[in-house]
Amino acid sequence: MLVRRSKGDVIFSAFNYILLLVLGIGTLFPFLNLAAISLNDAGDTLKGTIYIWPRVFTLENYSTIFANHGLAAAAIRSVVRTVVGTALGVICTAMLAYALSRKEFFLRKTYNIILIITMYVNGGLIPLYLLIKNIGLMNHAAVYILPLLIGVFNVIIMRSYFEQLPEGIVESARIDGASDFQILFRIVLQISLPVLSTITLYIAVQHWNSWFDNYLYASRNENLNLLQYELQKILISSVNQVMSANTHIDATDARRTNPETIRAAMTIIVTLPILLVYPFLQKYFVKGMTVAAMKE
């Protein structure tokens, strides 16, 4: 295909690239800042004004974190939870979204209204806690999956995407005798990869970052401890250490970390995997997209 380049085009492109570059650098800053702090000596960090380069280099913050025995196992659990939770979440979200996108579905409107309402009402923590307890999810792995299985927000996004697809695709499949399940999984999802990848990311991030359910509903089952929870424990213990510094005769000469440096290292540890994984995920999806488009 011939690409014509007008003068305006070139100027626009130049301007565009520069603007995006500035933006990228601007948003990279907190990450570099955290990386620098996480690699900086704890005592020195207290003095502040570290920007993007460590002043007194050390790996102590990371070694303190990795010295935690349960960390590796917790990280594996987190990965498993994220993979399982995301897979189930995406499939279930897609099914619900598909059903709600079908104009002929007689409960469409009712379900839509119910779901919208659920998004904005909140009974509070105590009743939710009692509910989780009463349905037997306390300290059970399912507590990581079931409450998060359907995010209404995600359903609506996906539903709207499905609704924009050319109606003829579904109709012709139906004429060929395909069931709704077949239509969804063989056809609709194939041509919805961009939104699918977005929803996958949303759900995966939610699972990966979530630790409050671990803390609240599963802290008594050590086999359910996740990476984020273990990290949170390390952070808290670092806070405690500062507070108890002189309660007794423990001298403080030995302090090698403080909450700020630990928090920085923590953020790097949990964020890196997402940053590294998503581009690949995206690439995969986009490739799948093109393949699907060609098949069409």
Partner: protein
Amino acid sequence: MAKPANTLTNQEIVQTAGKKAGKSLVIRRQYQLLLMSTPFVLLVMLFSFGPLWGWIMAFQHYKVALGLWHSPWTGFDNFELLFKDPQFFNALRNTVVMGVLNLVTGFVGAIFLALLLNEVRFVFFKRVIQTLTYIPHFVSWVVIANIFATLLSPDGGVVNAVLLKLGIIHDPLYFLGHEKWFWWIHTAANFWKELGWNTIIYLAVLVGLNPEHYEAAEVDGATRWQKMRFISIPGIMPTAVLLLILNVGWIVQSGYESQFLLGNPVVINRSEVLDLYALTYSTSIGDYSYGVAVSMFKSIVSLVLVLLVNYTAKKTSGSRLF
């Protein structure tokens, strides 16, 4: 793929079926759709409506020790207290103002960035920038607030240093110590944190647009601007309207973390939002009932807002939530 003229659409089947054979036929025809949706709707209802009995607390002086059955009833006292407190209305104002500012800047910013990224032909560059821009989303507010405090410090902060050097100011400014600036600083921080993340969905929609449209436009000699104006923007409009409606509902449910961490006693009149108000005067003093009253108020406002915006959107743009 045109619709074969001699078959009925599902819509028509429903209509005919409804008239002729009643619901049972519909259910039989749509059992797969029912199977795909009903269990999940019930699940969502369980976790959302299940705990709603907690709203009863708003009409009590709820005590954890006594539980719902034995806590004393107070009728509408909590609501009376709430609606008589000028501080509550101040918090409501702050919530709405910051909510709207966030919504507008976030909405415009994300669409703008998505369109710009969409114009980038160099895929690697596009992907890198996209990844970079959503980094701040993963950084907690504690860290973000810290970074802002450092940058804006009147005592050696970078922003002041630059402004001084440029001769724009002669004395360092105490950015975080000016009541009137808080809303804007908060909006800027939020904008910067969520910009890239908000963009993801729009980019996905743009990628999903039929490439044939662009090719056809190209052949017709459309300029870049025209393609953006007539293909890209209309393409993402339905999603944009949808998100707008959803987010309007969340305006009053802002959370309190960012305001709490960026704020300080000097700017409290502008930084106290509803959730912070509820935390201070309810949870932190163990009086859950008052917080539940605030929460009920928020839920109702949210729903009313969503209904209103949905109605307006339906009238004006044809997009709607339900």
